[in-house]
Symmetry: C2
Subunit: 212 residues, 2 copies
DNA sequence: AACAAAAGATGACTGCGGTCGACTTTTGTT
DNA sequence: AACAAAAGTCGACCGCAGTCATCTTTTGTT
């Protein structure tokens, strides 16, 4: 009952991804040909297209896998009692560090993720929903703790953080934010989003600044 | 002194973009071949690569041109006395409507703009700087009017709005935001960014909700 | 065990993006 | 006007992503 077929399929899929990541890392995405990749994986060229629709799909699948296991980690290890600001910074910085390891991978992945092709929409939405399942509970608790407004839809709150994450990554690509500055930048942005861009009344009595 | 060469160059460039946009709109970007495009523009295939580096560069250049003229309009027509919220919504919605006219164009353009290739970095940064020149004065005035915090760098303020714009476009691609809902969504997001995500003290006396 | 149908694998083949070296046009210099 | 260098044009050519008709393996049925 092992299901020879299914076992093999998974093995082959893994072999392809394995070979792909190795080659893409060594020679770069563009410079690696599918034929080369097939040979490295020990299969024929056409076979690859039984597992992935396009060349970039292979890379995308790999990145998704990486992020998924990252999410599992995060979900189990998260300390849900620290301020939501720290939680969000921590989550998105994990993602940032992961994705940012390889510039080319990151570009391709983010391009597809932020502005997906219509063909990938269904899968994309499913992925996003998973994300929400991870974030919503944390945000809800923060609402209960009084850290976040209750009159703002959770989808919107997620949106704020995700939007700023997109910004960070974009700024990283354009060189406006260095890798080492990223965490500080993200924390600042998130804090500002929470506090608001308009001048606060006064009530900032417990900050580092003089109490004026 | 007309400079036969320069005149012709500009004409040819225009002819290429013209043909490209027509064909890309009619048949789609992928389905249009460079050879076809060259024929439509009345030139040889290789010539195109004297004007643009890649196929998608042609599209990108077109979108940039469109947005640039849009910005000129905005700069002259802007009413700098209305609340910064309205100004920002107005500016980014113009951009959204423009870019959103053609889904495929939008995707390619946004992918390149938000996560540019390293080769395009220089041009990209120049473009961004132009953007800042447009926005900074408005934001500064808003700071003077007391609508925006003075202790937040203008670059960061721009970032907040731009990040939310990216989010909107991304959500539009994934179908989470319909074209007609876009303006409302963006306004809500911008307002929330200005007000902040944390519960405001009370001072919300002039909203629609009952006064509790 | 025999066999038919379903699923998978394969590499020759196709079409296209991008390059390159040969050719033509423009420019500026004498 | 003559001419050399610089700039621009061109399409045959190359390499590669992705397809498809054909062949091989697995599965379920008798």
């Amino acid at each position: 009952m092992a299901g020879i077929r299914e076992t093999k399929k998974k093995e082959t899929r893994q072999a392809i991804m394995q070979a792909a990541v190795t080659l893409f890392s060594e020679k770069g995405f563009e410079k690696t040909s599918i034929e080369e990749l097939a040979k490295a994986a020990g299969i024929g060229k056409g076979t690859i297209y039984g597992y992935f629709q396009t060349k970039s799909d292979i890379l995308h699948a790999f990145c998704e896998d990486e992020l998924e296991s990252l999410h599992e980690e995060l979900t189990t290890n998260a300390d849900r009692e620290i301020p939501i600001l720290q939680q969000m910074v921590s989550i998105y910085m994990s993602e940032f560090r992961q994705i940012t390891q390889n510039r080319e991978f990151a570009r391709l992945f983010m391009q597809q993720t932020a502005f997906p092709r219509d063909v990938d929409l269904e899968k994309h939405l499913a992925n996003e929903d998973n994300y929400f399942k991870l974030l919503f509970p944390l945000l809800e608790k923060a609402q209960e703790r009084g850290e976040l407004r209750r009159d703002v839809d959770l989808l919107y709150i997620t949106g704020h953080f995700y939007g700023l994450y997109l910004l960070l990554v974009s700024a990283w690509f354009s060189g406006r934010v260095q890798t080492e500055e990223a965490e500080t930048a993200l924390e600042t942005l998130f804090r500002q989003a929470i506090e608001g861009l308009q001048p606060r009344p006064e009530h900032t009595s417990n900050e580092g600044k003089a109490h004026e």
